[in-house]
Amino acid sequence: MPSVFICYSHKDEEFVDEVTHCIEFDTDLTINIDKEILRPGKSTPKEIFGKIRESEFFVPVLSLNWVESNWCHEEAESAVIEKIEKNTEIIPILKKDENFEEVMEEMEEWEEVFFEKLWVARFDENFNTALNNFIKEIGKKCDKTPKQIYSEMESSEDNPFRWVRAEQFHDPRKFRKYYAEPELQHLKNSRPLFLVGGRGAGKTMILKSLDPSFAISKEHAESWGQINLPIFGIYFKASRGSFSPVSKKFLDEISSNRQIFIDELLLRLSRTLLEILWDANKKDCIQISKSEEKEICRIFSSSLRLPSDVKNIDNLKNCISEEISKITDYVSSKERGENPSYLVNSLEIDRFKKLCKKILDELSSFSDKSYFCFLIDEYENLTEIQQEILNTLIKFHEGGIYTFKVASKPEGNETLLTLEQEEIEEGEDFDQISLDFNLNDKISRREYKQYVFRISENILSSENFEYTDITEILEDREEYREKNGETPEGLSLKEIDEEIKEIYNNRIPDKKWCEIATEKREETKDKMWFGAKFRLLGNKRCRYGGFDDFIVLSSGIVRRFVELCGLAYHFSIKNNKNIKDGEDDITIQEQTEAAYQLSKLRLSLIKKNVELYGPYIFDFVNDIGDIIHEKLMTHRSEPDSSRFKIRDPNKLKGMGIEISENGNQKEIPLNEIFSSAVTHSIFKRYGGKGSSWNKNVATTTQEYILNRIYAPALKISPWARWYIMIEPKKILNLLKKKEKTKRELIKKVRPSDVRDEEPLEAFTGVDDAKE
């Protein structure tokens, strides 16, 4: 994202806030602005001039106050140097309510410097026109935004990696070709299973693979009877828009209304079951005779206590739909404060169980071993009461009748209680698999690599690529290094060794590098290699290339890996490469560009796509990124961090920040904000005590790992070896944009303030970067 440095007098702060607020929310621009700097006694010139150097645009907010500010002049002088050396673009803004002639008269030599673009953003004339012009001007100098590039990639017919979502596969045959089955222990057995993973982890694909049509297609069979799979999948997506929304007030009256929700959910499950059975009959996957059809109608009618005599399946469908409509109408009238009447069906879990059993017994297409497997997608969209109902179904499932495979985002559970307020337990009542592979665990990392390898193999072979081995197509960074004796960034191996030695010698001054054992030296080199490289690179881009690098950057999320490949391929095609016929491979440069573009895009989407808390989480991630970056550049023994540990995380519940929602202020507890970040895979809860997808489990410390895809944009290392410790109070201050706290945290990671309690040998991270 292009970055803009705003140079202004603090007396004009109100206007600047207004303008930057407008720009920030909509555009992809990074605004560099530091109000603290301009207050007397708090200047940090190094930081300011560093930011000016980093920015592509320098924007002085011209006014009489600006003219009088010596500090503003110093910043502008620095910018002029950058303009000469680096071609930094200067675009002045004239503040509203200023007199243009008066300001120009006072500008003296600056008028000449800014003359070229003085007409662009005249806020003294019309705010909106000025804003429009300003953004247009910035746009002229910018390359395509990451969003534009991503859009091009996704819409390109030639890009094999554009198929990133399960919903894109309309044709089960195509889906079968692309799909790679993960090695999941409990997927096809009769025990209820929770599949937990963030967006892009592949949950929907896995559930869809249990769909009867997929199974039949996979086995090249013609009907259900020909395949040996006992599970008959019933896919049920609890998408937004599926259920009546309910207010807290309505939920508070839950005791008398609870039955409504049970009725609604059981009716919807039944309706979907019926739909799938009848659809399978139409496609000849199963056969339902006329007499069986009649019996099904009778079974459903009696089990669901439907009011009228149902003659046929279409009639039955309408009847169930009608019952569902009565409920939604009742709920909406009740929400309006009216007193509607509704005769509840009073359905019970047991009746539903019996319904399933009778259907299985009745239909000759099902064997004695067959059972229904309800594939519930987007569990996190269900309300607490709906989850209780589902949990009850799970607790009282019977292996020979039905089971559940439930897909949910992390922390997507509102409750693990049943309707009887008993808790369902992992191991006892259900199994759980995390699809967000933990790259810090060797076994999990290996499984992920194998999984992703097979997926890319399927993609490439479906698209008739000459080489279907993704490792052959992606130029590898390590191989480059071995072949050329230097890194793709042009650093020699000797340089890096020297840097490692320097770090070590600074760290332990009384023990020199040459005095330590060879084995220890090699071990140290392994641990410090990336950190040393980043330090030598400074602000230059780190290069990423090869299957292993993409594995790390994807952070254990399948979709991220596919997107990285997609963008890398996109850039290779722009460079007229022929990857498909095997003539070329995707270079490290193209892969690096893909990594940075996807990183910037994913970072920018935090504030736009995360409901309610997006802008706050975005700011927090950037702040943590700055702190970790400082550590990377300066810490003597623990450079590579993208983990942070919170001491006493339960305190987060008692702390909150005020957020504005449509003009209204409300206080949000920090734990909710963190939970949202985990649900959206911005952070991942990492290892440690009490880690669980159940967000209600209390812990003494909680560690989070930042999604590694942000590493390029944040200029930190994606190899998350060490952590930084943060107190809840500091997190609160960061979210409240208290610059002082951020400075303190940055200072803390620098050498002079580090207590160095842990010796180099005793670092706590699993060896992340190596195989």
């Binding site: 929310f25 429009n132 534009q148 859009s151 828009g241 259920f243 799938i276 309006r336 449509n662 003009g663």
Partner: protein
């Protein structure tokens, strides 16, 4: 601006005599000037009573307009007006009070006139649904005033961020949950909202509807430009148009789409980010296909008030 001699099923208010049409006048307060649009054009008509919905969210401009509205309502009504407080965040608030008022009147002998110009789309849907459920549909007149212009530009949206995505109460489908999801978005000037909605819903198929013709010819292309990222991802072939002002043509378009995307084969989810008349058109379609689709609403995190409408354009009688 569109003129009356176009092939429309709606009429300019100048052509319409409201004398026999109004017992109760219903309107809403707003920071947008056009909340006064209909009121200024129905002089000479007399209502028994008026109801004004006032949104709770603070706004100086709204308060200024409200003062003028109240003066106008006093002059238009025999028995003055009632003020109902509501919230753009929770439009259900106040609807119970409204429903209670309706119970004081007989649907057969009472005519309602509603100016929907400055209700939020969500609120408008709930309001007309309430009115219909209480039996007042046949004798209801719907008025809508166009803005003269939008103080916006092609780079900045009317709103920012996403606060939540939820179904509008009562507008929930009863179709099976295994059907592939068909997302139909009526596009407006809020590209971020549409983009986020699409991203969150993960539909199997999407259709994007652009209002056409635009209220003013010089606005042509704005909607497309403000939604360029979503259009780019999905492809131009996912674009379609629906009339910006005539809700009956919108209903017709929806029926055409239903032939292609059958309710029995796809789970419809509709999002009204377009014009208010289009949203009313969606309601017309809803009442003939109840519970065949859901209507979802993406609440923005913050409205960019500065970039809303300005001025008072034509006033139309939509029903």
């Amino acid at each position: 601006m569109m003129q009356k001699n176009e092939n429309l099923n709606i009429h300019l208010i100048n052509d319409f005599n409201l004398k026999k049409r109004g017992n109760i006048l219903i309107t809403s307060s707003s920071f947008e000037e056009r909340c006064l649009g209909s009121l200024n054009k129905i002089d000479g008509n007399e209502f028994q009573k008026a109801i004004i919905f006032t949104y709770e969210e603070p706004s100086e401009d709204r308060d200024k307009n409200l003062k003028k509205q109240k003066q106008k309502l006093n002059s238009l009504t025999q028995n003055g007006f009632e003020e109902i407080f509501t919230s753009s965040k929770n439009p259900l608030k106040g609807l119970d009070e409204f429903a209670q008022y309706l119970k004081n009147y007989s649907p057969k002998s009472t005519a309602l006139t509603i100016d929907i110009s400055t209700f939020t789309k969500r609120h408008m849907l709930l309001l007309v649904k309430t009115i219909e459920e209480h039996g007042f549909w046949e004798n209801t007149t719907i008025l809508y005033t166009e803005p003269l212009d939008y103080i916006t530009n092609l780079f900045l949206p009317l709103s920012m961020g996403i606060s939540s995505i939820s179904t509008i109460p009562g507008f929930v489908s009863n179709t099976p949950s295994n059907l592939p999801l068909f997302l139909l978005i009526f596009l407006g000037y809020e590209g971020d909202r549409a983009y986020s909605l699409h991203s969150k819903m993960s539909p199997n198929t999407t259709k994007l509807i652009i209002p056409d013709p635009p209220y003013r010819e010089e606005w042509r292309g704005r909607t497309k430009k403000m939604n360029k990222h979503l259009i780019k991802i999905l492809g131009e072939n996912k674009l379609d148009t629906a009339h910006s002002l005539d809700p009956y043509q919108v209903k017709k378009k929806l029926y055409e789409l239903e032939k292609e995307h059958n309710f029995d084969k796809e789970k419809w989810v509709l999002s009204p980010l377009g014009t208010k008349p289009q949203t009313f058109g969606i309601y017309l379609f809803w009442r003939e296909n109840k519970h065949s689709f859901s209507i979802v609403y993406a609440s923005p995190l913050k409205h960019n008030v500065r970039f809303y409408s300005t001025g008072i354009g034509n006033t139309w009688v939509l029903k």
